[in-house]
Symmetry: C2
DNA sequence: TTACCTGCAAAGAATTTGCAGGGCC
DNA sequence: GGCCCTGCAAATTCTTTGCAGGTAA
């Protein structure tokens, strides 16, 4: 394993462990395993997809544990939840990655990341003009990709 | 009823009727009633909230019909579906209203509309830079409102 | 020992589907 | 008359909860 990935992984594990400890929870290997699988796998996994991947490697893990762990991971901002149009909650590791938004092809369902600094800044101003202090945002762009146009 | 609202209502009804006719569906008063209730009520109703409102006025309507009608209304772009963080699908009449995005207070849950022309334009460019032609987008801003700051 | 952790199964919640009677064209 | 429409209830799907045995501290 690439040394940088390994360090990132250890780092996330430490952040997670510290978070659960501070919350008064006990140490759990299974939670860390679930974090690993989420971190190594493809992005935008739904809970049940993640559950399937976890089961491949750790066949005894129950799906309630996966749901409970995802909740904790979101609570400490290691991971974030996307609500897609299919109504499923999807998850991605957010910490240690640059912030990004998403662009989805309406033709083939292809899903990629996108970000524009100017838009980010304007969002802060827009919130401010309404009297809000912006904490975060979600932007989804829907269109047709080069192949589907 | 204000004459302008009345005309807008008739207009939406006509668009909807034309759409269902073109789709080979038959005329249905109930669908139009559901559209009216959605159009007159407060924004961002969930399917079950809409169902409750419809039932107040038309006690025999089944909730399956409300769900089916919402699907149709979204298909023809009269209404749009918002996926909020609570996992519920919420609906608002989009046609005949200016496009807008939403800003949500993380403190009290307050929900208002927001829009910025520059952001809109930059989104189109951002999509273009990825090779996509933008059809639509969803932007949600999360922050603290003046009262909750 | 006290609480948390976990898998399992059951419960819940939101939404969809099947069906049978009724209505539009 | 044929096909769509509708309410009802059952089925599905995703997610949460309760429980009983196990485990960290």
């Amino acid at each position: 394993m690439n040394i940088i990935i390994k360090m990132a992984k250890l780092n996330l594990q430490k952040i997670f462990t510290d978070f659960t400890a501070k919350k008064g929870l006990k140490h759990s290997d299974i939670r860390l395993k679930i974090l690993d699988v989420l971190n190594e796998g493809q992005k935008h996994l739904s809970a049940s997809e993640l559950f399937a991947k976890v089961r491949e490697r750790y066949p005894t893990v129950g799906q309630a544990t996966v749901y409970r762990t995802l909740k904790l991971l979101c609570e400490c901002d290691i991971c974030r939840e996307l609500r897609t149009e299919d109504g499923l909650a999807r998850y991605e590791v957010a910490m240690g990655h640059e912030h990004h938004d998403h662009i989805v092809c309406l033709g083939c369902g292809r899903f990629e990341e996108a970000v524009d600094e100017k838009i980010e800044k304007l969002q802060i101003q827009l919130a401010k003009s309404k009297g809000y202090s912006l904490k975060r945002h979600k932007l989804m762009l829907y269109g047709l990709c080069p192949k589907c146009k």
